[in-house]
């Protein structure tokens, strides 16, 4: 049975895959897929600490998976005589391109934009030989950060679910910041955090068993509670339980006034997060973008909030999906404390830190 574990931030999702691989039996053939290169490197690095493994484990990026197992072996069945020459990451064949020019550029490289659709078409053209081959190559396929999939990638996922391949999915829909294919209009209603609804559809069709892991090993309970409060009850998320009980001299959620930022930096050396390059330009801090910081941990985090985040904090004005996910990712990077830089101080409804 295919299974999906929806875990909270800091729920050791990636580690659970690594542990599974390390404990797998001799000769077990496992494929681990993930979307971002950073996570791929992380998986490789953690797995290599356990090497040599008894099982044979391959780690692959999602696109590389589509290219090497779906498209390359059977492309001539879809487009006779054609061979795959690579990936065209940014190219766009145009909205009205049909047939081969929609999927392959002049050099024979597949457009990333339509890669998943090409993968599905290729599988259809060879009577599902793609899935048969995969099924015979691997005993189980794991997908980390599954919430990043969207558009036609979900159709690929559905095809995998319907095949005899044993799927293990791990993800956190509240961290749905990245998109494998942001421009793909397919399955638009399941974009981002709403992929949860897609999983529910699969579960009720009997294709997927969903379990929840609500324990975080990273953030303390104060931060976890705040993170939970970002999403209203209608989402139906369970309460996060923190296993981090360590106490420091500065734990929980705070507001830092701009004039105190320099002292705060000196005292706590927090990881500084912002929405994007164009946000919080008035602050000269070593910022990382929230999307990039996904997967990282830090003792302390200092966040430059966006206007909607400020409105959410001051007036409890609900955030949009993406903004909510963004805020969730930002605060859940922290183990001990997360602070917002704002001149509104106590109006944000959080303790104001003073030197």
């Amino acid at each position: 049975m295919n299974c999906l574990t929806l875990a909270v931030a800091g729920g050791r999702k990636t580690q659970s895959i690594v542990d599974h691989c390390a404990g797998a039996a001799q000769g077990r053939r496992i494929l681990v897929l993930t979307y971002t290169q950073a996570n791929q490197r992380e998986l490789d690095a953690r797995l290599s600490r356990h090497r040599p493994l008894l099982a044979s484990v391959d780690v692959q990026g999602w696109f590389s998976f589509l290219l090497s197992h779906w498209v390359r072996p059977y492309l001539p069945r879809r487009f006779p005589q054609r061979r795959l020459r690579g990936l065209n990451f940014d190219g766009d064949p145009g909205q009205y391109a049909t047939g081969e020019p929609r999927f392959l550029d002049a050099e024979g490289r597949a457009y990333k934009r339509h890669l998943a659709q090409l993968a599905l078409d290729t599988n259809a053209a060879c009577a599902s030989a793609v899935l048969d081959r995969l099924h015979r190559m691997y005993d189980e396929v794991h997908i980390d950060e599954v919430q990043d999939l969207n558009g036609y990638d979900l159709e690929v996922l559905a095809a995998l679910m319907q095949s005899p391949i044993e799927l293990h999915l791990v993800g956190d829909v509240r961290q749905a910041l990245l998109r494998t294919n942001a421009h793909d209009p397919k399955n638009k209603q399941y974009m981002g955090i709403r992929i949860k609804a897609w999983f529910d559809v699969q579960a009720s069709a009997g294709l997927l068993e969903i379990s929840h892991a609500s324990t975080t090993w990273r953030s303390n309970q104060l931060i976890a509670d705040f993170a939970d409060s970002i999403f209203d009850a209608s989402w139906g998320f369970e309460k996060t339980i923190s296993e981090n009980s360590s106490v420091t001299d500065h734990d929980g959620m705070f507001v830092v006034l701009p004039e105190h930022v320099a002292t705060y930096m000196e005292r706590f050396d927090p990881l500084c997060l912002r929405h994007s390059v164009s946000s919080a330009v008035s602050l000269d801090l070593p910022f990382s973008n929230i999307g990039v910081a996904k997967g990282r941990s830090a003792d302390r985090v200092l966040i430059a909030p966006t206007k909607p985040m400020v409105d959410f904090l001051c007036k409890r004005k609900p955030l949009g999906d993406l903004a909510a996910c963004s805020l969730y990712v930002a605060v859940t990077r922290a183990r001990a404390s997360a602070a917002f830089v704002s001149d509104l101080g106590g109006k944000l409804g959080l303790p104001v830190w003073t030197p």
Partner: protein
């Protein structure tokens, strides 16, 4: 397991498409028929290497099919100009689970199965140089420096080493007296024969031993050198055992046979050891290539080796054996024959199990002559062969051998078995059989289905003139003339002498300068053979 082999434009093969069987495949053919080339091509596609070197390093103009090359240069620049010659070697493998990584449709027939292919094609990177070269009226030799070797699996994934799923062992009969002690192929086999933990253990012990020498024996020596360093060099110098990869255990550890290092053992024993090593490997699906196992082996050693091959063969192993020996062919099973002729495989229909078993028992029989002859005359014994040769020469003015006719004595084989083999190979043959008192209709009845009016005949002597060749000869020649030919005086009874000296009859008929009349059935046979 290899299910299909396709070669295009490779050496002798313009186009070869064969389907080997599981287990043993015995490749026979005349010299220069491409036996070794086929073996070499299989190894090339499986390993990317030839004689231990990468294909791209070994690539030379003579890899290309000579007719392709000649045609290309002859037509170049004209309206009928053809594509530059290319080489294609494809191995289609059985659709087994461990081979799925190699599976796809990237092969010349678009078949969905695992496989590997090696192509040698003009390189895109040198397209301009290649064109310039061709327009400069070059000699008709393929400029391989403008070619690229592409080695991929059927999933179109480039290969840079032998896929680990495919084990291959190449056993040739070449002399093994290289300085490294063991030749490349044997070393490959040796290291694969050991599992990874055994390899690690050997490697570790080997390195320790070398370090031990450095520490213990060389230690005091290095101290002495160090004390005299000023006279030698301005930095500390010393001696140590070489620990670089050149001195890894693989070059230092060699197989031994009865306490004698492998390279010093007899060639026959070397071949036996190589076969045993290769065949008892634990690796999954193994392809074993054996070139002419009969070389360097005495008859008894060969029998032992073949027995070992049969005993060690498992269902996961596929063997390709080239041979010049009928004994090898009969012993390993005639039904496993893959016959090459001028770079083309001969059609070979199924041979009955009992016939295969029959030839196994009659292993000494020269089956290859039956298999390889262009035109075949099957006769009962040596005297019939000699008489037929004389009759043929008288009628045509040339010896049968010069005319491409091989006269083969049955020597214990029945006409039926021989004709069955010829029928399977679709070989032209004329059998000449004594009637032994039976009517020819009775004799022909049992073999009728094996005959073919256009190419396979069985001619039976007329019972009215006697049961065997001798009375038949006596019946058509005047007694005096025959006595002169045979040198038999009046004192001896001619019929009795002929019966008791059959081979002498044949020899004297062949050598005689006298005219001889041949019985009608012999004449008929000659007419069919010319």
């Amino acid at each position: 397991m290899i299910e299909r082999i396709v070669l295009r434009g490779y050496r002798r093969f313009a186009h070869l498409d064969i389907r080997p069987i599981p287990g043993m495949n015995i490749i026979v053919g005349d010299n220069e028929s491409g036996k070794s080339t086929l073996i070499e091509a299989i190894a090339l596609a499986l390993t990317g290497k030839i004689n231990g070197r990468w294909a791209v390093e070994e690539l030379n103009p003579f890899w290309f099919h000579s007719k392709d090359v000649a045609e290309f240069f002859a037509k170049y620049g004209s309206d009928q100009s053809t594509q530059p010659p290319e080489i294609l070697i494809e191995l289609y493998l059985r659709n087994e689970d461990p081979l799925q990584r190699l599976r796809g449709v990237h092969n010349s027939s678009g078949t969905d199965c695992p496989g590997v292919r090696l192509r040698v094609t003009p390189s895109d990177a040198y397209a301009v140089e290649f064109r310039d070269y061709l327009t400069s009226r070059p000699p008709p030799v393929i400029p391989v420096e403008f070619y690229a070797v592409e080695w991929r699996d059927f999933a179109d994934q480039p290969l840079n080493q032998r896929p680990k799923e495919l084990a291959v062992a190449f056993i040739d009969a070449r002399t093994i007296r290289s300085t490294s002690g063991v030749d490349y192929h044997t070393r490959e086999m040796l290291s694969e024969h050991l599992d990874s933990s055994e390899r690690t253990t050997i490697s570790l012990a080997h390195r320790r031993a070398r370090q031990e020498i450095t520490d213990s024996v060389l230690g005091p020596i290095n101290q002495r050198i160090a004390s005299a360093k000023s006279s030698l060099h301005d930095r500390p110098m010393g001696l140590q055992m070489d620990q670089s990869s050149r001195t890894s255990w693989e070059t230092g550890v060699v197989p031994q046979v009865d306490g004698i290092p492998f390279a010093m053992a007899g060639q026959g024993q070397q071949a036996s050891v190589k076969v045993a090593l290769a065949m008892s490997r634990t690796a999954g699906s193994t392809c074993l290539l054996i070139e002419e196992p009969e070389n360097h082996l005495s008859y008894t050693s060969l029998a032992r080796l073949l027995a070992r091959i049969e005993a060690l063969a498992t269902k996961d192993q596929q063997l390709f054996v080239t041979t010049h020996s009928s004994y090898v062919l009969n012993k390993l099973g005639l039904d496993r024959l893959l016959l090459l002729h001028d770079g083309r495989p001969a059609k070979f229909a199924a041979l009955g199990d009992d016939t295969v078993a029959y030839f196994r028992k009659l292993a000494g029989y020269d089956t290859l002559r039956l298999v390889l002859a262009r035109k075949l005359a099957l006769v009962e014994g040596p005297s019939d062969a000699l008489v037929l040769e004389r009759a043929f020469r008288d009628a045509t003015g040339t010896s049968p051998l010069d005319a491409g006719v091989d006269i083969v004595s049955m020597g214990g084989l029945t006409f039926k078995r021989a004709l069955e083999l010829c029928a399977c190979l679709d070989r032209p043959a004329v059998g000449i059989q004594d009637n032994d008192g039976q009517s020819s209709a009775d004799i022909l009845e049992s073999v009728g289905h094996l005959l073919d009016d256009s190419k396979r005949h069985l001619i039976v002597s007329d019972p009215d003139y006697g049961p065997t060749l001798e009375p038949q000869l006596a019946a058509v020649n005047a007694e005096g003339a025959l006595r002169r030919v045979l040198g038999v005086t009046e004192r001896a009874d001619l019929a009795t002498w002929m019966k008791n000296n059959k081979t002498d009859v044949g020899l004297r008929v062949l050598d005689s300068t006298e005219d001889i009349v041949f019985p009608a059935y012999i004449q008929e046979a000659v007419a069919l053979l010319r």
